[in-house]
C-alpha cells in the first residue's frame, strides 16, 4: 500500500478548500447564531 505524497498545495487547491469550507460553514454558523438567540431566555428567565 503506497503512502500519499504531500506536495506543497497549489494556490488553486487552497482557494477550492477555503471556498468549500466557507460554503458549508457560513450557513451553519448563521443557524448556530439564530439558535443561541433563542437560548438566552433560558438563562435570563
Amino acid at each position: 500500500m503506497s503512502q500519499a505524497s504531500r506536495p506543497a498545495p497549489s494556490p488553486a487547491r487552497i482557494v477550492i478548500t477555503v471556498v468549500a469550507w466557507l460554503w458549508v460553514l457560513v450557513p451553519f454558523l448563521y443557524g448556530v447564531w439564530q439558535l443561541l438567540i433563542k437560548v438566552v431566555p433560558l438563562f435570563s428567565g
Partner: protein, 463 residues
C-alpha cells in the same frame, strides 16, 4: 443533467495530490441540506391556516409529509444502500439532490394548485427518497478517506444532519414572512413560493457535494498511517463482510437493538421537550416567560444533539466503539435516574442531564457507521448502514408512543408536573440497560461471513 459517465465511480478517483479535507465539506453540503427535515414543524401552522383550514385532521395531515419522509428515509436507505456503495457517492449525491429538490418543487406546485396530496407525495415520498440516499451517500467514502479517524469523519457529516434544522428553521420562517405564507392572513401562494425558493436553493447548495466528492485510489492511505495497527485492536477487522451476510450475523442485530434503544431514549426527551420543561418548571412563572424559556430549552437540546455527534464520535476513535457505547448507554441510564430523583429541585442539574442525554442520542447516530466499519469492514458499509437505519424508523415510533401515551394516561389519572414522566423515564432506563447488555454481547464477526480474498475487487468489477 450530467451523463452516466460523469456519475461513474471511475471518474471520481482522486489524483495523488487530492486533499481528503475536501471530502467533509462535500458531505456536509448534503447533510446540512437534508437535515432540513427536522425543521418541517415550521410549516405546520401555515399549512393548517391555508390548504388544511377547517379540517379537524389538520394537525395530523400537516405532519404527514414529514412522517412519510422519515419512513421513506429508512426504506430508501435500506433498499438503495447496495446501489450507493456500488455506483459511488457522486451518483448517490446527484440522485439525492434531484429527489430532495424535486420534492420541494412538487410541493410548491401542490400549494399553487390547491392539491395537498402533491405536497405529501412531493416532500414525503420523492423528497424522502432523497433523504435516505443522501444520508448514506458520503458515509462509506468518508470512512475510506479517514481510516485512521472514521469516528471524526462520520461525526462531522452526521453533525451536519443535526445542524440542517438550525439553518432551515430561521430561513424558512423568514421566507414565509417575506412571501406572506405565515401569520393570520397566510396565503397558499406564499407557501408555494417558499417551497420553490427552498427547492432551488437546496439544489444549488447540494451541488457542491457531487462536484467535489472524490473516492480514494485503492492503494491510497493517509501519510504516516499504518494499517497493521488497525488489526491489533479488538473488534476491528481488516476483512470484509457483504451487506447480505451482515444481516445474518448476531452482531448486526445486537447493534440494531443498541441503536434503536439509544435513539428511543433520546427521542423520549426530544420529542416532548417543551411540554416536559413546562411540566417540570411551571411553578409561578408567567405563561409567556415559560413559553420563551421552554423554546430556549428546545434550542439548547438541539445544540447538545448536534455537538454530541461530533465530540463523542471523535472520542470513539481514541477509546474504541464498544467503550463509547458503554458510556452512551450506561451514563444515559444514570442520567435518567438523576432526572427521576432530582426532579425539578435543581434546574442546572436538570439542564445538564437533559443535554448529556441528547448528546448521547446524536452521538449514537454519528458513531454507528464507524462501529459497522470496525465489525464488517469497508466493502459494503454504506449498504449495511442503510439496513441498520430501519432501527431509527422503529425508534421514531416507539419513543413518542412511550412518552406521549404514558404522559396522557397519567394526566387522565389526575397526576401533574414531574409525576407525568416517572413511568416513562423508568422505561427509558430499562431500554438503555437492555441496549447496554446487547452492546456487551457484541464480539468479532465469525470469519465464515468474511468475503473471500479478492471478493472486493470482483464485486466492484461486477458493479
Amino acid at each position: 443533467m450530467p451523463d452516466a459517465g460523469f456519475l461513474d465511480r471511475s471518474r471520481i478517483v482522486a489524483p495523488a495530490h487530492w486533499s481528503r479535507w475536501l471530502v467533509p465539506p462535500a458531505a456536509l453540503s448534503i447533510h446540512l441540506a437534508i437535515g432540513q427535515a427536522y425543521a418541517w414543524s415550521v410549516f405546520k401552522d401555515p399549512l393548517s391556516a391555508t390548504l388544511l383550514k377547517g379540517s379537524s385532521w389538520a394537525g395530523t395531515l400537516s405532519a404527514l409529509p414529514f412522517t412519510l419522509g422519515i419512513v421513506m428515509l429508512g426504506i430508501s436507505a435500506a433498499v438503495f444502500g447496495t446501489a450507493v456503495d456500488h455506483r459511488g457517492p457522486r451518483w448517490a449525491m446527484v440522485v439525492a439532490t434531484t429527489c430532495f429538490g424535486a420534492g420541494f418543487l412538487i410541493s410548491a406546485a401542490g400549494m399553487a394548485l390547491g392539491q395537498y396530496w402533491l405536497v405529501v407525495v412531493g416532500y414525503g415520498f420523492v423528497g424522502g427518497i432523497g433523504l435516505g440516499i443522501g444520508y448514506i451517500s458520503p458515509v462509506s467514502t468518508l470512512i475510506k478517506w479517514f481510516p485512521d479517524r472514521p469516528g471524526l469523519a462520520t461525526g462531522i457529516a452526521i453533525m451536519g444532519f443535526g445542524g440542517g434544522a438550525l439553518i432551515a428553521s430561521p430561513w424558512s420562517t423568514s421566507l414565509l414572512t417575506t412571501f406572506g405564507g405565515s401569520g393570520a392572513h397566510a396565503q397558499a401562494g406564499g407557501i408555494a413560493k417558499t417551497f420553490l425558493v427552498m427547492g432551488i436553493g437546496y439544489a444549488i447548495f447540494m451541488s457542491l457535494g457531487w462536484l467535489l466528492i472524490r473516492v480514494p485510489a485503492d492503494d491510497w492511505a493517509p501519510a504516516g498511517w499504518d494499517p497493521a495497527l488497525v488489526r491489533e485492536k479488538p473488534l476491528v477487522t481488516s476483512a470484509n463482510v457483504s451487506a447480505r451476510n451482515a444481516i445474518r450475523t448476531p452482531q448486526f442485530w445486537l447493534l440494531w437493538v443498541v441503536l434503536c434503544f439509544n435513539v428511543t431514549a433520546g427521542i423520549g426527551i426530544l420529542e416532548r421537550a417543551a411540554p416536559i420543561y413546562q411540566d417540570f418548571f411551571k411553578g409561578d412563572t408567567p405563561a409567556k416567560t415559560l413559553t420563551a424559556t421552554a423554546a430556549g430549552f428546545v434550542a439548547i437540546l438541539s445544540l447538545a444533539n448536534m455537538l454530541g455527534r461530533f465530540i463523542w464520535s471523535t472520542t470513539s476513535d481514541v477509546v474504541g466503539r464498544k467503550n463509547i457505547y458503554r458510556f452512551y448507554l450506561g451514563a444515559g441510564a444514570v442520567l435518567y435516574l438523576v432526572l427521576l430523583f432530582a426532579g425539578n429541585a435543581n434546574k442546572a442539574i436538570f439542564l445538564i442531564a437533559a443535554m448529556l442525554i441528547l448528546s448521547f442520542y446524536g452521538a449514537g447516530f454519528a458513531t454507528v457507521p464507524a462501529y459497522l466499519r470496525d465489525l464488517f469492514g469497508t466493502f459494503e458499509v454504506g449498504a449495511i448502514h442503510g439496513r441498520l437505519l430501519t432501527a431509527w424508523s422503529v425508534a421514531g415510533v416507539l419513543g413518542p408512543i412511550i412518552v406521549d401515551a404514558i404522559a396522557d394516561k397519567q394526566k387522565a389519572a389526575g397526576l401533574s408536573g414531574t409525576d407525568l414522566y416517572t413511568l416513562s423515564f423508568r422505561i427509558m432506563i430499562g431500554l438503555l440497560i437492555v441496549g447496554f447488555v446487547c452492546n456487551e454481547l457484541i464480539k468479532a464477526v465469525d470469519p465464515k461471513f468474511h468475503e473471500p480474498a479478492g471478493g472486493r475487487a470482483v464485486a466492484k468489477e461486477a458493479a
